[in-house]
């Protein structure tokens, strides 16, 4: 009699405790928010880089359609710094942006975890007007060089100067945005520009006298995928699925057969032209550009970059790299997709490590 009364109550109690738990565990997010830090240049959305591959292939949309999860791509104005602001406000679950702003953000208190190396090998160029007499960096001593400061290309610029025994004081450094710098060079208001003015180079309005193609590979910029730790804690399986799709897109982009299609998509996105993309990736397979491996090369890259930023007082705190990244997701993705040997790791100097 007592049991007949008590048992239903116990069952009800158990159910009322267990059901919400089960329900919460199976609950997916309704939306996955991905902020893309390449931002906009000349007002057009810039979806270059490895994340452009993922967007083009609609990897996330098709993967999560059956779960009813919406994918939200968040544009930012102001590129890297804009992404830091979005992340600081908890406005995104995943982020794709470059080495420089990511380090700056981490030093400033943005807490995200690095889970996929996105792409490497972004070049910077020292360009001059086509009729300029300057042939080397030394020829430009005392002259005006335009560069957008506190942005990724400041790192290779400073190191390139240092390698040549020079410093900012040996030139007149003019701080101009990308658009203004290119206009200033075209109008000969400055004698040189450091950055990647691909439109000027394409049209022959500027001539490159040096580039990171022929310098230390570590001077080339990179961009990665980061995840919000709170989101990761709640939905680790979702994170793994996102990583799988991203690596799949990188594999597609790395395939030499797709090289021209990749260049065309970069051109359509407004982040480059086919000519510029070919110039960027001259002499290398896209498999090198879109490598998702946490190899010596990329880890050393960040160690050198974080040290540099701290030395130059561009960040106030020293950023540690080892507790920043988590290679497990990529490792799992490579296994799931059967791509363990598809990409070759690079050593600290960028040389491929023989398997």
């Amino acid at each position: 009699m007592l049991l007949r009364r008590v048992l239903p109550c116990l069952v009800l109690l158990l159910a009322s405790w267990a059901a919400p738990q089960a329900w919460a565990a199976s609950q997916n997010p309704s939306v996955i928010r991905f902020v893309n830090g390449a931002g906009a240049i000349y007002g057009r959305p810039y979806t270059g880089g490895a994340v452009g591959l993922l967007m083009y292939r609609r990897g996330l949309e098709t993967e999560f359609e059956k779960d009813g999860i919406r994918i939200e791509w968040i544009p930012v104005a102001g590129a890297g710094p804009g992404v830091n602001e979005v992340l600081a406000n908890g406005g995104a679950d995943f982020a794709f942006y470059g080495d420089f702003p990511a380090t700056v953000g981490r030093a400033g208190g943005v807490r995200v975890k690095w889970i996929i190396p996105g792409n490497r090998g972004n070049n910077s160029y020292l360009v001059v007007p086509p009729d300029s007499k300057a042939r080397t960096l030394q020829d430009l001593k005392g002259k005006r060089i335009a560069i957008m400061r506190a942005r990724p290309w400041e790192y290779p610029f400073a190191r390139y100067l240092a390698d040549n025994g020079l410093g900012y004081g040996d030139f007149q450094i003019v701080n101009l945005s990308v658009a203004d710098g290119q206009a200033a060079l075209a109008a000969k208001n400055v004698d040189a520009l450091w950055g990647n003015p691909w439109a000027l180079l394409d049209r022959g309005i500027a001539r490159a006298i040096a580039s990171t193609h022929s310098l230390d590979k570590q001077y080339q910029s990179t961009a990665e995928v980061f995840v919000d730790p709170a989101f990761e804690k709640k939905y680790p399986q979702i994170v793994q699925r996102v990583v799988n799709q991203f690596v799949k897109a990188q594999a597609w982009g790395s395939d030499d057969a797709n090289r021209q299609e990749v260049f065309k998509l970069l051109e359509r996105a407004g982040s480059s032209s086919v000519v510029a993309a070919e110039r960027e990736n001259e002499g290398r397979s896209l498999r090198q550009t879109f490598s998702p491996l946490f190899d010596d090369f990329i880890v050393t890259h960040y160690q050198q970059l974080t040290a540099f930023l701290y030395d130059k007082r561009l960040v106030r705190k020293k950023v540690t790299v080892d507790d920043w990244y988590d290679p497990r997701y990529v490792a799992q993705a490579l296994q799931d997709l059967g791509l363990e040997t598809y990409w070759t790791p690079q050593d600290a100097q960028g040389r491929f490590v023989a398997r």
Partner: protein
């Protein structure tokens, strides 16, 4: 005949020993004014501190007021603040020194000469609608990307409001002033110097004050264009390097300096126009 006595003298009571009470009232009055003045500041800073502490907005984005104060003091101590303020001030004052006098002259031209008005009115009002920044690419082409072009942008921003204020100051002079001039058979020069200009001065002075405020406010934007020092540059630098305390420090300093400029000019305005009955 009975002496007519002032009724007031008889009815008014003898003055009591008032001095101590009057002083006390004055102090109280001052205190009341001080509290009213400080209250909004206390509410703003207190609210700011509480929001930051409660992490309603993350403290990496909304820097607590004490941290901002520390940043300001550090920069003051290292001389950076003085350097940036000096650069910004030189740009504003340079632009003002060019834009304001030219604006006064052109405004006077518009106000006094129907022919100038006929030729220039449409063009002036059309150009006035163009935001000062929109001139930047053109100015860069003319002046290059150094200090001169930044001063030119500010001069433009100062020019238009001064012209307008001067022109309207003259236009709004009541017609009967002209009648007075004719009545007294004043020469053109006398009419100008003793009637028109003094009547237009209040509007001109207000215009000059507003133009300076505007010039200071434009500073941040102007310094985004190829500067490597200055308060506006400092704020952009802080944003790029995710050191938002620099941004907040810039906001506080810009606000304070702008306030000082405004108050200072208002005081000068009051001195200049003390003859006005309404003051």
């Amino acid at each position: 005949m009975p002496r007519v006595v002032s009724s007031r003298a008889e009815i008014r009571p003898a003055p009591a020993a008032a001095p101590p009470a009057r002083i006390g009232r004055r102090v109280l009055h001052r205190l009341e004014r001080a509290v009213l003045f400080a209250l909004p500041a206390v509410i703003v800073f207190g609210g700011w501190a509480m929001l930051a502490a409660a992490e309603v907005i993350p403290s990496t984005v909304l820097i607590p007021p004490l941290d901002v104060l520390r940043t300001i003091l550090d920069m003051a101590r290292s001389g950076e603040l003085a350097e940036h303020l000096g650069r910004s001030a030189s740009r504003v004052l340079g632009g003002y020194a060019i834009g304001a006098p030219i604006g006064l002259v052109v405004g006077l031209g518009f106000g006094l000469s129907p022919r100038v008005r006929a030729y220039g009115d449409l063009l002036f009002h059309a150009l006035r609608q163009v935001p000062a920044f929109a001139w930047a690419p053109l100015l860069i082409l003319i002046f290059g990307i150094g200090e001169l072009f930044k001063i030119a942008v500010i001069a433009l921003a100062v020019f238009f409001p001064v012209v307008l204020a001067t022109y309207e100051g003259i236009r709004d002079i009541p017609a009967r002033y002209g009648d007075v001039a004719r009545l007294y058979r004043l020469t053109r020069a006398q009419e100008l110097g003793r009637l028109v200009l003094p009547a237009a001065v209040p509007s001109m002075v207000t215009g000059l004050r507003l133009a300076l405020s505007r010039a200071w406010m434009m500073l941040v934007g102007v310094e985004l264009l190829g500067a490597s020092s200055g308060i506006g540059w400092m704020m952009d630098w802080g944003r790029s390097l995710f050191q938002l305390d620099l941004v907040m420090a810039g906001i506080v300093v810009t606000g304070l300096v702008g306030l000082l400029l405004d108050r200072g000019l208002r005081a000068a305005e009051a001195r200049l126009l003390h003859w006005q009955p309404s003051r």
